[in-house]
Amino acid sequence: MQLELRGITKRFGALTANDHIDLVVAPGEIHCLLGENGAGKSTLMNVLYGLYQADDGEILLDGIVQHFEGPGDAMRSGIGMVHQHFMLIPVFTVAENVMLGHEQTSFGGRLDLDAARKRVREISDRFGFSVDPDAIVGDLPVGVQQRVEIIKALSRDAKVLVFDEPTAVLTPQETDELMTIMRQLRDEGTSIVFITHKLREVREVADRITVIRLGKVVGEAAPTASNSELAALMVGRAVELVVQKDVARPGAPALVVENLDVIDANGLKVVNDVSFAVHEGEILAIAGVQGNGQTELTEAIMGLQPRVNGRVSLGGQALTGLSVRRVLDAGVGFVPEDRTEDGLVAEMTIAENLMLDRSHGAPFVARGSLRRDHLDDFAEDKKKEFDIRAQSVSTPAGRLSGGNQQKVVLAREMSRDLKLLIAAQPTRGIDVGSIEFVHKRMVETRDAGIPVIVVSTELDEVVALADRIAVMYRGSIVGIVPGDTPRDVLGLMMAGERPAEVAA
């Protein structure tokens, strides 16, 4: 089925997310939509899928103009989507999720679960997935959840399949397999739209590439284009793809974690017997697919987890059992993985957000009242130093772009006297300019002799920053390897296998 978008325009208030976008996807081709975070790729696909109504422009399938009131219409016309944030109901089984919306019923209106199970097995076998139709979706690893999304789309006989940033949650090997699946689907005649910002993947799988920047199509490229050509097109200027850093000069061990367990509310050990040390002046990256205990590990160090066994110490001082305030006072800076949820108060101004973790005394509070002047001066300084693009320091943090929000968090955490910096997913969902900035500051922090932990699910980031890499799988550390370990070895470790050459 041929998909054509003509002059699609979508505005959110003053912001034009899509500005007259034209796109043609031929049957049996993989069409890559390349663009930075915030370029408008997902908005465009949500328009296509009927989740948003376009302000202007039309959608054509095989030359016929379509009117989608909602996703139901899009689906009936043969469009399927594998969403970036899975559209699965966590408490339902795989079969229930797959049948939802087009349920078959047997006698008396009862759900025909057997038919749904059969359908899941059928598609699952065709692509070599091993998915149990009766497993509860919320309990499955993210990589498998994505396969459930694919099964869901295919069970509705999708002729056009949209993959929205599908590789963010996968190991490199899983990514390769996904690409094999995409090729297999293409060869069966399905039109595929592949949305991503990762150049490596684009060049590997795309038949055609369309680049979007700031809501506009800025050009097409052949899959033979070089990384730097694609990056320049995507960002609009020449981009430095590697992080400049010297060889680390690690000092004494600073943060020492010994036999750390974290137990969740159901009694499961989400972090299991983890031990490692971070030295002064080195970056330790914690790699792994999302949901393998990294979040809980960092929260345990910060004192945010209620059930923790084991020992954590920083420069000889024990951190276990301390309140979050005391951990912060001990000199730990923390960039949480979800800045809108845990990193910032969206309604408060930039200046107020900058003093959030120092609200109990000097330098911003004197005798119980805020020293506004002092705070504003400080905020102006930081705005300049961290290149926070905002009208003023009294702009609410929630109005900033993702990249600028992250700079506010970073500015707050790095303006204290640090003895340790923990950054969880520091560049998730931010633009390339901000990524470069964040990476630069991480390396500078390291060079100042401060130990840095970077938790990231993006292998590119791990490889770019790390002096040593700890790979986590299902709550345990598979191994700690040097920063120059090859990607496929890291990929195997992310799937829980310890290659022979990696010492325990």
């Binding site: 969403h83 109901i89 408490v91 390769d176 590997e204």
Partner: protein, 438 residues
């Protein structure tokens, strides 16, 4: 093509691969310990002499069971010892639980707590009615009757919350149902017309709740609370200005007669309790089963739950979220309205100001205590109904506990049940959150 070796991701559920440990919680042990102390004080220190007769059947029963006579004081002492032993068992389970499988441990814990509750209740009844007799069938029969409006209300709550709208307006739906049932049944002289009027009244209250919370995105709890006050004010006003002017024609509803089901009603104890009821109670049995099967085994229920858990996911597979919410909240209102009809077509035959007296809030508690499951919510409602009826029965036979104190019983049970036993319960993920499309 990539040259790296492909690894099929491990598709086993995450929880199955993580090591599991037991979190020791002393909550159950402490709670039981408190009750042992209470038992010691009441049954031993303040023990009463005399024998208590538990009457298991009434004269009209076909099968007559012999009365059961227990000496109050020795029963009290025996039970207190047994309670202390059970508490010790629970304490041991807490300490050494990790040696048992999680399932076995849960079962053992549940059995101990049920046995504890039963024994405590037995000793309490023996103590409170020392020298008197307790009509066991009467106690249970009244429990089922008094629970009926709570169960209808709870079912309404379950449906509404499962689809994603918090239904605080159950009280208003019950009261509106009671009022309209009385009025319409009195005018037409037909209780069935009253039943339908009650459902319509419940739906109307739901319409307001649904419109404000789904269309205008007003905070659902606030709309619910305001609706309760509105219905209370409106029915009280109409009662004083209209109904009380002509009580004979406007507020004398024909009641549903008791209709014993042949054969079933002759089973000892169970028969009189469950199958000598009125039409509304039989309707309730059907409603519980229908809602349960509907929610978990039909297309309607699957879509309803999907909308309450993850509305956007439901939207992406073509389910229209807001209409689904609107009509199911309306349905919830109809079910709760039926509960209101119980007040004026079954228990008494006329409407009185604020006659539901907070039953809607108890029903709301039953929804949470029952963890949004219609069957469990029904049992929770039965527990509250039992507490209410226990207070009635003990008041009638003249117990040593002051009746004002006994009036608190249903509410104390509610607080203990919801706060003590349930604690944090996870409801439908999107309950209370409006779905906004851009």
């Amino acid at each position: 093509m990539s040259t790296s070796t492909a690894v099929t991701p491990d598709a086993t559920p995450v929880s199955a691969t993580l090591e599991s440990t037991e979190i020791r919680s002393w909550k159950a042990t402490i709670a039981l310990g408190v009750f042992v102390v209470v038992a010691l004080l009441l049954f031993v220190v303040l023990g009463r002499d005399g024998a208590t007769t538990f009457r298991l059947s009434s004269e009209s029963d076909v099968v007559q069971l012999a009365d059961w006579v227990l000496p109050a004081r020795s029963t009290g002492i025996t039970v207190t010892v047994l309670l202390a032993l059970l508490t010790a068992v629970v304490a041991v389970l807490t300490v050494a639980g990790s040696r048992l499988s999680a399932r076995l441990r849960r079962v053992a814990l549940a059995v101990s707590i049920v046995a504890f509750t039963f024994l405590f209740l037995l000793a309490f009844l023996a103590w409170a009615a020392a020298g008197e007799s307790i009509p066991v069938t009467g106690l249970l029969l009244g429990t089922v009757s008094l629970s009926a409006p709570l169960i209808f209300g709870a079912l309404g709550g379950v449906i509404s919350e499962r689809v994603g709208v918090v239904n605080v307006a159950i009280e208003g739906q019950l009261l509106a149902g009671a009022f309209c049932a009385a009025l319409v049944a009195s005018i037409t002289g037909n209780p069935f017309a009253g039943l339908i009027a009650a459902m319509v009244a419940g739906v109307l209250v739901s319409f307001v709740l649904a419109a404000f919370s789904i269309k205008y995105l007003v905070d659902q709890v606030i709309v619910g609370v305001v609706l309760n006050v509105l219905v209370l004010g409106l029915t009280s006003f109409l009662y004083s200005t209209v109904l009380s002017q002509d009580t004979q024609n406007l507020n004398t509803a024909p009641r549903f007669p008791r209709f014993p089901i042949p054969v079933l009603s002759d089973i000892p104890i169970v028969g009189p309790v469950l199958f000598r009821q009125t039409l509304i109670v039989y309707l309730m049995y059907i409603a519980v089963i229908a809602v349960y099967i509907g929610l978990f085994h039909t297309k309607w229920g699957l879509r309803l739950r999907a909308v309450g858990e993850h509305p956007q996911a439901a939207d992406t597979v073509g389910i229209r979220v807001n209409p689904t919410r609107f009509w199911n909240v309306s349905l919830a209102g109809a079910v709760a309205g039926l509960g209101g009809a119980y007040f004026t077509l079954d228990s008494v035959s006329s409407f009185g100001k604020d006659m539901t007296a907070g039953a809607g809030f108890i029903a709301l508690a039953a929804v949470i205590f029952g963890r949004w499951n219609p069957i469990r919510a029904t049992f929770a409602a039965l527990l509250f109904g039992f507490a209410t009826n226990l207070q009635n029965v003990l008041g009638a036979i003249g117990s040593p506990v002051p009746s004002e104190f006994m009036l608190m019983l249903p509410y104390v049970v509610t607080v203990l049940a919801v706060a003590g036993l349930v604690g944090y319960a996870r409801g439908p993920a999107a309950s209370g959150k409006p779905y906004i499309k851009s």
